[in-house]
Amino acid sequence: MAGIRLAGLTKAFGASRAVDGVSLDIPDGEFVVLVGPSGCGKTTTLNMIAGLEAPTAGDVYIGGERVTDREPRDRQLGMVFQSLALFPHMSVFDNIAFPLRIRKTPPAEVRARVEAVAETVRVAPLLGKRPATLSGGEAQRVALARTIVMRPRAFLMDEPLSSLDARLRVEMRTELKRLHATLRATFLYVTHDQAEAMTMADRIVVMQYGVVQQVGPPLAIYADPVNHFVAGFFGVPPMNFVAGAFAADAGRLAFRAAGVTIVLDRPAEAVTAHDAVLGVRPEHVRLRDGTGGWTATVSLLEPLGDETIVFLDYGGATSIVATVDPDEKIAVGDRRRFMFDQDKLLFFDGTTGERILR
Amino acid sequence: MPAARRAALSWLEREQVFKWLPFVPVQALLVFLLLPFVLLVYLSLVSWRITRGVWWHAPFVGAANFAGAVQDERFVWAVIRTFGFAAAAVPLELGLGFGLALLCRERFRGRRFYTTLFLLPMMIVPAVVGYDLSMLLIDQGPLNQILSLLAGRPVTVRWISDYRMAKAAIVGADVWQWTSLVFLIVLSGFAGLPPDPIRAARAMGASRWQIFRYVELPLLKPVLAIALVLRSMEALKIFDYPVLLTEGGPGNSTETIAVYLWRVGWDFTRVSDAAAMSLILMVVVVMYTVIAIHILRRERRQLAEEAAR
């Protein structure tokens, strides 16, 4: 068991940088999820840690040792791939035994260890089968077993759940978390699915354009994103963004956009940036009767059962999305008033996208 | 010395070393086989015959051999004739192969029988094909017998001794053997057609002909391109059939480039003349190859882009 440290890890392909100076310290036993849209460099980062790709610059440390120049086989890491990468020409037993046989483990020990691991991930009855005959969930477990059996210093996972259907994916999330609790090993998990990141991670690393945008526990990232991108990446339905500008309003700072003006409890000098974007999560948009707030027309309803998503046309470029109680009496075409929870408002610089007024 | 062995192995493992491993012997072989080309150029610039001393003492004659080759009517005619054979055989092979594949693309009773049987000719040694046809085509042979039966009167075509019919026989041999290859390629092209665009076209109300013309045919283009490139390349090399079927005759009427060069070099031992002609031929082929490779690369790139989408 070991932690992983990355120091200025960079991978350039020609002029473009797939990974650009990623530094990260993952203590032993932590479950870290590397998340970002496709092409953000997260898989390349993982491959460099595993030794499958050589970094252009920077170093990888495992358990304090520099391993940058080592072959993958000398790094003792366990890796689960997006396609699972089960060997189609070997039985499940041989698949799980493969890493042990490579290390010339005595046959008796191979058998004992494979059977023990098969028991823990519940694939014992499948040992004689071929991978092609397994269901998605079974194949998933076999891939995990094959990784666990070699007792790696850390686990790397590259979107391992993406081939599963939606329900199984949710089940496997729980199982992976339980596995992490049992093994107490370092997990570095790569995904583009923000829900996987939120539910499983001890800490989330958000990447975009090969650069780490923010590192932190899931709820901190959700509530306190550092920029426009991170704010928009987490949450379903996603955060509402309203483009506008700051202006002074009787000595206080005001945000003005088409159809919406918000006077803030701050002095006018608090901000120099003129153009800005307001961000507010759907659960912080309140529908209300009577006076106050702004009026809007309900243009679309998406009932989900536990809540209902409401699209409000208020005169801006896009609709404001709100989530409301499913029992709320509401119909398309209704004229309603809405307000934002003032203390939950986030503002981003209109040009750089950086958070302002934190 | 396990330590030394381990070190050697781990050196071989490094990507920069490992990836070049197969290139060393292959490039060595290619260099070994490239030297004769230098020799070819040298031989084409001197005047040497196998029967006349050692080649490095032969006198330098400059471009005389090339001038001789261009003025050699027999060479010029062999070139024209070879292209003529290709121009006659390749379209026939493409047409027949495509037509037969079209008839065999859907399931019906007996399909397996036909598709297996039609592949037979391409597996036969070409020299055997040439020889085999020489038996069929003799004046009192089975082909004339069949034709007599079909015509209802005695037919005696002099397939091998008539200069026009001999040409037809050479083209026929090529068509007989290689239609099977075009058939195989097109048939697998049909099998690889993606079903969704065709279903979409049908849903949009396209007729069978329209689907074929505007959906299937464009999708088959890479496969047809490969068949065309492959066959026209091979047709320019025709050697086995004339040698075994007609021996280039009657007269020189079925003498292809390969046959004539063979005669100049071996039968007449005029090696330098043969070398000059070989170089001229090489220039022609290289131009053709550049076009062929361009087509291949374009089609492969398009397919890769399609797959990426």
């Binding site: 990468a85 | 086989l33 037969l100 039609f118 037979l120 040694v125 085999d132 390349m233 060069l261 082929v285």
Partner: protein, 286 residues
Amino acid sequence: MKRRWLVAFVRHAILLAWTAVTLIPVYWMLNTSFKHSGEWVTWPPHWFPEQPTLENYAQVLTPGSTIFELGRQTLKVLKPLWDSLFTATASALVAVALGSALAYSWARFGTGGKNYPYSVLTIRMLPPIVIAVPFLVYYVSLHLLDTYAGLILVYIATSLPYVIWMMLAFIEDVPSELESAARVMGASRFRVLSSVVLPLTVSGLVATFLFVFILNWSELLLALTLTNTQVSTIPITLNKFQSVNEGRDYGPQAAIGAIATLPVVALGFLIQKHLVKGFSFGLLRK
């Protein structure tokens, strides 16, 4: 209903016609190979041997070497069969080993540049007659003329383009994640090749081997140029027979044709499915 019958009728009529075109030459060769000399040329030709005989096969398969006498010859093919078998097998083995390693290296690392396989292809596009002339001189100087090694070296080179392109199609079918997985689990690159890549491409390797074998088994021109008496493959033997013997020994020749053809046809049908890949240059949709 009527239309469907008509379509089926026309379809089968055309296909049967081509079946006849395909089969008659092959049948005629077998037919002649079982005939006594008196039946080789008759009018009307005999479609069945009246007195079937194995003497043609017996003659060509007796040990000894071909004897050319005035106007007649007795042909023996055991030595040519061995020569063909040996050169075709040896060249196919080496070409498959080198070519598939090269194809792997190119597919995974892009070694040699984007255009490498295309440039190798030019070897195949060059008419063999072009290299025949200088090779004669070259091989005489190197004492490789009329030797197994000389012919095999050239066959390896001319087979490489097909091996590379055919194996590319099979290697590209192996997901590279399988190899990454094996490497992370501790396998060396050589172990990855033997435990993962090799088992997954074995059918391709066999098909490619057989294909190249057939190619070299059938080759005439280069064999004619580079070998003569010490080494003499089946196609050359057939050619010698044809050009020396104006009287035409149809029977024994047909027997040689059958002997040269049948094993190859059998192999060809075995790899029928994979044959397309070899000719497709990666241009087939999956």
